[in-house]
Symmetry: C2
Subunit: 110 residues, 2 copies
């Protein structure tokens, strides 16, 4: 069963994107594929969710972008994480872990 990310956990998309780009500069299409791959098809982003998210991240200064030909010689926009992006990623990731821990505690305890 394939699930779109925010089906259950919205707000996590930015986090995932940043993490993927942090590993390697990529274009949007590639990010979507990589997400699907890494999550063994559990996670998926539609393009209409992805591109707005990228715009957001650009606007907030967490990503930089530049046009360059892709591996397939297409016009593509490559995203690179900024210093601020890394900082934000680290912070959000920590908060994510805390929240998940808290939620799981509630789910288990009662």
């Amino acid at each position: 069963m394939a699930v779109t990310v925010p089906d259950l956990l919205p707000g996590t998309l930015d986090l995932l994107i940043l993490r993927i780009v942090a590993g390697d500069s990529m274009h949007g299409y590639g990010i979507a594929q990589r997400l699907k791959l890494l999550s063994a098809d559990v996670l998926q982003v539609g393009e209409s969710s992805l591109y707005p998210a990228l715009q957001r991240l650009l606007l907030n200064g967490y990503l930089d972008a530049e046009w360059a030909p892709s591996e397939n010689n297409r016009k593509a926009r490559y995203y690179t994480i900024t210093k601020a992006g890394r900082k934000y990623l680290a912070a959000e990731r920590k908060e994510f872990d805390q929240l998940v821990a808290a939620i799981q505690r509630v789910l288990q305890t009662a």
Copy 2:
């Protein structure tokens, strides 16, 4: 630092409410308190998030409600989880765990 639930993880509110009510029939105000308590103040629900959520759950048949005096002798609406609610809870919980696992995998792997 106190965080409202959907600050990072919306969609989880229903799950938390159901789990809490599953443990014990409660009124709205009590649910909010219990959530705060169980999560050691990490999680919080405002009333303007809570009550609409409860309506939703009622409407979907996951909860039943009836009026009864509270422990403090106030007028209160007690919520009880239904059979369908338990089923839904179990399913969503499973999905939640899967998603979290997938996300964490992505966050760690790259």
